[in-house]
């Protein structure tokens, strides 16, 4: 399954720009001087072992965590210097797909999808909300699951609904946290296809956090390898995969054994 590379990457327009980013939790240094740029229309996969701070990085990008040092600009806005109102406006332009899907337990699929829309666009009529829900359900191929509760969905379906919930706000950037974690190979392939379709259809720029090499290879224009809180290597997937660096090789070998 090869990635369909029909999209245009605008190297002139930076949608995310990170410089000198540091983050620690107590004595544990997680991010240790990250510099990174995401261009418009680009998909970047961030690889790394568990606990290397991949999820922390995207949580900092969306303003869920504050860095100890460093600057993050998203869509030209300094994420951590914004007031509440501006941060809310920025977050509407960034979609975040959680590792656990984070669907609201007490709401059915329709309510899960309609909730962010009705809370942020109160002027919309019921019909307009219904149409938007139908449209995103169509995009993730789950049109018939509208009335089901999250507990009645499979892991893959939950991931799809999680992605649909972010798509309903029509984001310009998508941040995927371990989109294929805990899924069987067939469902993983479906999610990978969905990530590519989302980019084609919604023209998003994406960061995909993963330790799944198949996912990284099939979704990314560039791949970044996070090691000891820094990007050890950034480049094309094959370029990184064929490296002679012993530390990076260790990760790949481990992945293949798995």
């Amino acid at each position: 399954m090869d990635k369909i590379k029909q999209h245009f990457i605008d190297k002139e327009e930076q949608v995310i720009s990170i410089s000198g980013l540091y983050k620690s939790f107590g004595d544990l240094k997680v991010l240790n001087g990250i510099d990174f740029t995401l261009y418009k229309g680009e998909n970047v996969a961030i690889l790394g072992k568990s606990g290397t701070g991949k999820s922390v990085l995207i949580k900092i990008i969306v303003g869920l965590l504050r860095p100890d040092r460093g600057e993050v600009f998203a869509l030209g806005k300094p994420v951590h210097s914004l007031n509440h109102k501006d941060l809310d406006a920025l977050r509407l332009r960034i979609g975040f797909s959680f590792q656990s899907s984070a669907l609201y337990d007490g709401m059915n699929v329709y309510q899960n999808l309609a909730f962010p829309l009705t809370m942020n666009a109160k002027h919309l009529t019921k019909k307009e909300v219904d149409t938007a829900v139908e449209k995103v359900l169509d995009a993730v191929n789950l049109r018939n699951k509208k009335k089901q509760m999250p507990s009645e969905l499979s892991g893959g379906q939950r991931k799809r609904i999680g992605i649909a919930r972010t798509l309903i706000l029509k984001p310009e950037i998508m941040l995927y946290d371990e989109p294929t974690a805990g899924l069987d190979p067939i469902t993983s392939t479906e999610i990978i296809q969905l990530i590519n379709e989302v980019q084609q259809r919604y023209n998003t720029s994406s960061i995909i956090i993963t330790h799944d090499l198949t996912c990284a290879r099939n979704t990314s224009d560039r791949t970044a390898m996070l090691l000891d809180g820094r990007f050890a290597k950034v480049g094309q997937f094959d370029e990184i995969f064929n490296t002679e660096d012993q530390h990076l090789k260790e990760f790949y070998n481990y992945n293949f054994i798995q």
């Binding site: 959680f98 984070a102 609201y104 337990d105 962010p116 919930r165 972010t166």
Partner: protein
């Protein structure tokens, strides 16, 4: 020597944690009042929460209130009869139920039923990243989840408390009626003969304070839950234990304040 140093270290850590908790609680308290009066207001969610807290607690409050009324009347009768003062029974029950038992029993039941529910629900939302999911969708989880729940308990528990008083007095009346064949009008006239306006105010203030406490403690523990499913259980447990403990302290304080007001 080494043991002493460890003990000292544990002690300083506990003191440090205590002051951190005080800071966190005061911050949570401040945020609640800041957010409660700020737009947007989620009236539908508030009504939904009032329904969850109020309507769903009605059967339990009805049963408990009725039993308390009837049991207290049965047990208070013999000592009063010894002094030839059984005619004072409705007044005694009126004072006991309206001033103290009604708000206290209602709030203790709600601390167990509603407080633990809030703690577990918010705790589960926290550990499964649902609260963060709200944040990244530009929905303020504090406003939507916490403010509405605290307001719902603060509004609903006083209503439940008065309902509990009414049911408890009905229980009391049934016993009095079977023992003395008195009418319901006579019973209620006697029960309310010693109740003053300030007693009603005291009862209302108690119920409002307890309602706020239950909502606040439940939300605080749930919203700050951590460590997976273990954290959810802990949040639910702490929500009940702390709420009950604080309610008893508030009971003492409010009684003292009103006694002082009445005496002066």
């Amino acid at each position: 020597m080494y043991g002493d140093r460890i003990k000292k270290h544990i002690f300083t850590r506990r003191v440090d944690q205590f002051f951190r908790d005080i800071y966190d609680i005061s911050k949570f308290f401040r945020t609640f009042f800041k957010e409660a009066f700020k737009r947007p207001f989620h009236f539908n969610e508030l009504i939904n929460q009032c329904y969850e807290v109020g309507y769903r607690s009605l059967p339990l409050i009805t049963l408990t209130g009725f039993i308390i009324g009837i049991v207290f009347t049965i047990q208070s009768r013999p000592p009063l009869e010894n002094f030839g003062a059984s005619s004072w029974l409705p007044s005694l029950m009126g004072i006991a139920i309206i001033k103290s038992l009604g708000p206290l029993v209602t709030s203790l039941i709600c601390a167990g039923k509603v407080g633990s529910g809030i703690g577990a629900e918010l705790g589960s939302m926290k550990v499964t990243e649902q609260i963060e999911a709200m944040e990244v969708s530009s929905i303020h989880p504090f406003k939507y989840l916490v403010v509405n729940r605290i307001l719902a308990t603060t509004i609903t528990i006083p209503i439940l408390s008065f309902y509990c008083c009414f049911i408890a007095l009905m229980g009391s009346f049934i016993n009095v009626h079977f023992e003395e064949s008195s009418s319901i009008i006579t019973f209620y006239q006697n029960a309310f003969s010693t109740i003053t306006f300030i007693d009603i105010i005291e009862s209302t203030i108690k119920a409002v304070t307890y309602g706020f406490t239950i909502g606040f403690v439940g939300c605080y523990n749930g919203y700050n839950a951590s460590q997976g499913t273990r954290g959810v259980g802990r949040a639910a447990n702490l929500a009940v234990v702390y709420a009950m403990f604080i309610i008893f302290i508030e009971e003492i304080l409010i009684v003292q304040i009103f006694t002082w007001i009445i005496n002066s």
